[in-house]
C-alpha cells in the first residue's frame, strides 16, 4: 500500500512516454500503471501470444517476459484503439533465447496508439526481431519506442528492429524511437524506420483493372502490414489479427 501511494503519473520527460497522449494517461489513472503481467518461459519452452488491443477507452497492457536458456516468446499484436492505446513488453533473454515481436498500429480519429518494448540481452547468443507497421489517417498517431540493451558479455547477440509507417492523410503522424545501448562488441543490431504514403501509381493500376478505391486501398494496406505477421505460422490467428487491422481500415479516407 505504501508503495502504491508513491506512484505518480509519468510525464513526457520520461523517455518511454515521450509521444504518449498525456490526457489518455491521466484518464487511465495511476492504478492501471501498476498492472504488469508476468510471463516466465522456462528453458527450451516456447510461448506465443496473439492480441487484439483497443476500444473506445484508453487502454494499457504491460508485459514482463523472462526467457530461460533457448526459450522463445513471440508476441503478435493488432493495436487498433479509438482512444489512447499502449502496449508495453519488457523482455529479458537468457543464452540462446529468442524474442519475436510483430505489431500493427492502425486507426484514424485523433488517437495515439503505441508499442513500447525493452529488450534486454543479458546473456550471449540470444536473438530478437521486432517488426512494427503503422497505418494512420485523420490526425491519428502511431509510435514505436524500442529500447535494446546488450550487456558486455552478451556476445553474438542479434537484435533487429524494423518500423514502417503508411500515412493516408497529411494530418496523421508516426514516431519511431530506437534506443540502443550496446556494451558487447560482437553483436548485430539492425534497425530501420521509414514513413511513406500510399503508392498512388499502384492504386491507379489496381483501379484500372477494376478494383474499387476501397478494395485497392485494402489490398495495398494488407500487403504493407504483411511483414508484421510473417513470423506467425498459425493461419487462424494470422487471419484474426489481419482481419482486425483491416476492419479498422473501413471508414479510412480513400
Amino acid at each position: 500500500m505504501a508503495e502504491a501511494a508513491t506512484l505518480t503519473l509519468p510525464t513526457r520527460r520520461d523517455e518511454a512516454w515521450r509521444y504518449a497522449d498525456m490526457d489518455g494517461v491521466a484518464r487511465l489513472g495511476v492504478a492501471a500503471l501498476d498492472q504488469w503481467q508476468a510471463i516466465d518461459v522456462p528453458a527450451g519452452d516456447s510461448v506465443t501470444r496473439c492480441l487484439i488491443v483497443g476500444s473506445g477507452q484508453p487502454e494499457l497492457r504491460r508485459f514482463r517476459v523472462t526467457l530461460g536458456e533457448g526459450a522463445r516468446a513471440a508476441f503478435f499484436v493488432t493495436n487498433a484503439g479509438q482512444d489512447y492505446t499502449r502496449v508495453e513488453v519488457e523482455v529479458r533473454l537468457a543464452r540462446g533465447a529468442h524474442f519475436e515481436f510483430g505489431g500493427v498500429t492502425i486507426g484514424g480519429g485523433d488517437a495515439t496508439r503505441e508499442f513500447v518494448t525493452k529488450v534486454v540481452h543479458g546473456e550471449p547468443e540470444a536473438t530478437s526481431n521486432q517488426t512494427v507497421r503503422a497505418v494512420h489517417w485523420n490526425t491519428g498517431t502511431g509510435n514505436f519506442l524500442g529500447e535494446i540493451k546488450v550487456a558486455r558479455h552478451a556476445q553474438k547477440t542479434d537484435a533487429a528492429q524494423d518500423f514502417k509507417a503508411l500515412l493516408l492523410e497529411t494530418g496523421a503522424s508516426a514516431n519511431a524511437v530506437p534506443q540502443l545501448e550496446i556494451f558487447a562488441d560482437d553483436v548485430k543490431c539492425a534497425h530501420g524506420a521509414t514513413v511513406g504514403e500510399l503508392d498512388e501509381a499502384a492504386r491507379f493500376y489496381m483501379m484500372a483493372r477494376g478494383l474499387d478505391p476501397a478494395t485497392a486501398q485494402r489490398l495495398l494496406v494488407q500487403a504493407f502490414l504483411g511483414d508484421a505477421f510473417v513470423a506467425l505460422d498459425d493461419a487462424d490467428e494470422h487471419a484474426r489479427l489481419l482481419d482486425a487491422a483491416l476492419s479498422a481500415l473501413e471508414g479510412a479516407r480513400l
Binding site: D199, E200, A201, A202, F204, Y205, M206, M207, A208, R209, G210, L211, D212, P213, T215, A216, L219, L220, Q222, A223, F224, G226
Partner: protein, 253 residues
C-alpha cells in the same frame, strides 16, 4: 464503339496546366484494330491515361463515348467494368500482392459490377492457366508478386495475360511491344489477336514499330502529333512511316 471527339486535355493540375491533347478526334468501331503512331512526346500515353481516367489528367473540352456511354463520367474501376482495358507502357509493381490474388479480386469486382456471379478459386485458376499458356508464361510467375522482379519483357507479357483473364471489349495498349525481343513480340502479337480479334471488340494499339503490326495487322493506322490525329490511313501508312519517318510523311500532308 469508342468515339473521341475534339478532346482537349492538360497535365500539371489546375495551378499549372499544360495542354497536351489539342482537339483529338478518333472513332474506332467494333471489330477494328486501330494503330496509333507518332513521335515521342506527341501525347500518345496522355491519350491512354485520359481514357483510363488517371488522376492528374484533366479534360478541358470534348467528349469520349464508349458504347454510347459518357466514358469520362466514370471512375477508373467503372471504366474497367464497362469493358475498357488499359495496357500500361510502364506496368506498376505491387509488392506483397500476388498476381493471382490481384487478378481474381479484379475480375470478380468487374463481374460484380456487371451483375455476374464471382468465379470460384478453382474456376479462376483454370482461366488463369489457360491465358498464361496462351502467352507462354510460366504459371509460377502468376503466383509471384505483381510485376515485382519481372523483366521489362515479362511485365508486358504479364499485361497481356491480365488482358486475357479480364477479357475486355476494348483495349488501349500503350507500347506493349517495347522491351520485347523478337520471339516475345510474336507471342504477344498472337495473344492480342487471340484475345481481341472479334467482331464485338476493338483495340487502340499505340506503337512505334512495324514489327508488331506485321503480326497484329491493323485495319487502320493514325498518326498522332502535337496532341491531334494528323493523318489516318490503312496499314500502308505504317509502312510509309517506317520507310520515310514522321517528318517526311507529315510534311506531305
Amino acid at each position: 464503339m469508342l468515339e473521341i471527339t475534339n478532346l482537349h486535355a492538360t497535365v500539371g493540375g489546375p495551378d499549372n496546366p499544360t495542354p497536351i491533347l489539342k482537339g483529338l478526334t478518333l472513332h474506332v468501331p467494333a471489330g477494328e484494330i486501330h494503330a496509333i503512331m507518332g513521335p515521342n512526346g506527341a501525347g500518345k500515353s496522355t491519350l491512354a491515361n485520359v481514357l483510363g481516367g488517371k488522376p492528374g489528367y484533366d479534360v478541358t473540352e470534348g467528349s469520349v463515348t464508349f458504347n454510347g456511354q459518357d466514358l469520362l463520367a466514370l471512375e477508373p474501376h467503372e471504366r474497367a467494368a464497362a469493358g475498357l482495358f488499359l495496357g500500361f507502357q510502364y506496368p506498376v509493381e505491387i509488392p506483397g500482392v500476388s498476381n493471382v490474388q490481384f487478378l481474381r479480386e479484379a475480375l470478380n469486382a468487374q463481374r460484380k459490377a456487371r451483375g455476374e456471379a464471382p468465379l470460384s478459386g478453382g474456376e479462376f485458376l483454370k482461366l488463369a492457366k489457360d491465358k498464361a499458356a496462351l502467352l507462354q508464361m510460366d504459371m509460377d510467375m502468376l503466383k509471384r508478386q505483381v510485376n515485382v522482379g519481372f523483366s521489362g519483357g515479362e511485365k508486358k507479357r504479364a499485361e497481356m495475360v491480365q488482358m486475357g483473364i479480364l477479357d475486355p471489349a476494348f483495349a488501349v495498349l500503350d507500347e506493349t511491344d517495347s522491351g520485347l525481343d523478337i520471339d516475345a513480340l510474336r507471342i504477344v502479337g498472337a495473344g492480342i489477336n487471340a484475345i481481341m480479334r472479334a467482331p464485338d471488340k476493338a483495340v487502340l494499339l499505340i506503337t512505334h514499330y512495324q514489327r508488331l503490326l506485321d503480326v497484329v495487322k491493323p485495319d487502320k493506322v493514325s498518326v498522332l502529333a502535337g496532341g491531334r490525329i494528323v493523318e489516318t490511313g490503312g496499314p500502308e501508312l505504317a509502312l510509309r512511316l517506317e520507310a520515310e519517318g514522321y517528318d517526311a510523311v507529315m510534311a506531305d500532308g
